[in-house]
């Protein structure tokens, strides 16, 4: 193990993603995956400083309460739905914590509706739920959000494909190579088995890693459902390439 002092970023090396544990780029029954996926093979190149560096975010830019979606910031009223506490650890491929790193989260409300101009679902909006949150991982790589469990919703013009309840995550990690946008699913949901996006990942064990697990409620005795979702970002510890 390295002797990295706390708070110091670990310099990392990056391998290309393993295709079996990443989704196929073209998905049956999801037409946009065909019209937007490049036909040509990607250009193999040597990543340089532009790739092994990446954006970092000032924790001071986050306002208190951005990690709590269950309570409306302006009114203090509680959103409709089952309160959940979502915790998890963000690590790299060597198991090192990804520290002080921005996590963005968004989701549908309890009825399966997003606040977004492109959501044509006729399910009602919840005036006390924005569906968007941000948090920084702590010095051990852990994040925590309080929110409500999202509802399922139908995908337009898809032959009654309903997306299972899910929460979107956007992470940056230690470099531009570790950027990840994904979706987290809930255990035991009947819609999971036939979901076209979950099933786009060839490897069954990798699909399982998109599903959170039930954990004890960290807010007890305040009632809430506890879930945990750990995330692994690309990158392994390495000696730096560039010293000048």
């Amino acid at each position: 193990m390295s002797k990295t002092p706390p708070g110091d970023a670990v310099l990392a090396a990056f391998a290309r993603y393993d295709d079996a544990s990443q989704p196929s780029r073209v998905v049956a029954g999801y037409p946009n995956t065909r019209t937007r996926t490049p036909a040509a093979a990607p250009v193999v190149y040597a990543p340089g400083l532009s790739e092994i560096t990446g954006p970092t975010f000032d924790p001071a830019a986050l306002r208190p309460g951005e990690d709590n979606l269950a309570v409306a910031p302006d009114t203090g009223r509680r959103a409709i739905g089952q309160i959940i506490v979502l915790t998890g650890r963000v690590g790299d491929e060597d198991g090192r914590p990804v520290r002080h790193s921005l996590v963005e989260l968004w989701q549908a409300n309890g009825a399966g509706r997003y606040i977004h101009g492109h959501d044509d679902n006729d399910a009602p909006l919840d005036p006390d739920f924005t569906g968007v949150g941000r948090a920084m991982t702590d010095s051990e790589g852990y994040y925590r959000f309080v929110t409500i469990k999202p509802g399922a919703y139908p995908v337009p013009d898809s032959g009654n494909w309903w997306r299972p309840p899910h929460i979107h995550f956007s992470l940056f990690g230690s470099s531009a190579m570790s950027r990840l946008v994904t979706q987290m699913y809930f255990p035991g949901e009947p819609l999971n088995a036939d979901d076209r996006l979950i099933n786009s990942v060839p490897d069954a064990a990798a699909r399982e890693r998109l599903v959170c697990r039930v954990v004890e409620n960290p807010l007890a005795p305040t009632p809430a459902l506890g879930f945990a979702f750990d995330i692994v970002l690309r990158g392994r510890a390495a000696t730096p390439w560039i010293e000048a």
């Binding site: 110091d8 970023a9 990392a12 993603y17 393993d18 544990s21 990443q22 989704p23 780029r25 037409p31 946009n32 995956t33 065909r34 019209t35 937007r36 996926t37 490049p38 040509a40 990607p42 250009v43 190149y45 340089g48 400083l49 532009s50 092994i52 560096t53 990446g54 954006p55 970092t56 790299d92 491929e93 198991g95 963005e104 968004w106 549908a108 997003y114 977004h116 492109h118 959501d119 924005t130 569906g131 968007v132 941000r134 979107h168 956007s170 531009a176 990840l180 946008v181 994904t182 979706q183 996006l197 786009s200 990798a206 890693r209 998109l210 995330i231 692994v232 970002l233 730096p240 560039i242």
Partner: protein
């Protein structure tokens, strides 16, 4: 302490059509300062615009485009850039924008320096959107940059594909002063497809 094998990276999933506008605040596409009204970054200002286009010339509406680049001196504000030269802490280095109804996007930034004296000045581009199960990554290069001739990535492409990574100058317009106006269209698939990088 428990030692368990670490699984491979978590699978990507599409960003979908509902990325919250709240996460693209005003100024997210302006890298020339850290915040609206904050001191300006050094360097030549670049007004970058373009369209993201899918198969058949159809605009990629509601896609997310993120850019990452060095400052005017070719430095990054990141621990992996261990050089002793100064970093422009007024520069934002990163920004994001959402494409409009025509697939259009725009950024205000500065022209980066070469990061190592060998690779040509460039902007790293990430595209996320509905239908993209994994992100797409490419680079935008600058027209008339001497180092374009020797840039390893550009040199690895044939002439037609190489040209697609180099932005073009917008026809000169009045009132834009010294700002460099560039256009970089990104074709996700089909005629004139943009070269994307292995990820």
């Amino acid at each position: 302490m428990k030692h368990r094998p670490v699984p491979p990276p978590t699978p990507s999933q599409t960003i979908g059509p509902f990325f919250p506008p709240h996460l693209i605040p005003p100024g997210a596409n302006d890298l020339t300062s850290r915040a609206p009204g904050a001191p300006p970054a050094a360097g030549e200002i670049v007004l970058l615009s373009g369209r993201i286009i899918g198969e058949g010339g159809k605009p990629a509406v509601n896609a997310l485009i993120e850019i990452w680049q060095a400052d005017a001196a070719g430095r990054f504000d990141h621990p992996a850039d261990r050089r002793n030269t100064p970093v422009d802490r007024n520069f934002a280095f990163w920004g994001r924008a959402r494409t409009d109804g025509e697939g259009g996007y725009r950024f205000r930034t500065i022209k980066p320096g070469s990061v190592d004296g060998a690779s040509a000045p460039h902007i790293s581009v990430t595209i996320l959107g509905s239908g993209l199960m994994r992100r797409l990554v490419t680079r935008m290069y600058f027209p008339d940059a001497t180092l374009n001739e020797s840039d390893p990535l550009l040199r690895s492409l044939d002439e037609a594909r190489r040209r697609r990574l180099i932005a073009r100058r917008k026809s000169p317009r009045g009132g834009e002063g010294e700002e460099l106006a560039l256009v970089f269209d990104i074709v996700l698939r089909g005629e004139g497809e943009t070269p994307f990088l292995d990820d």
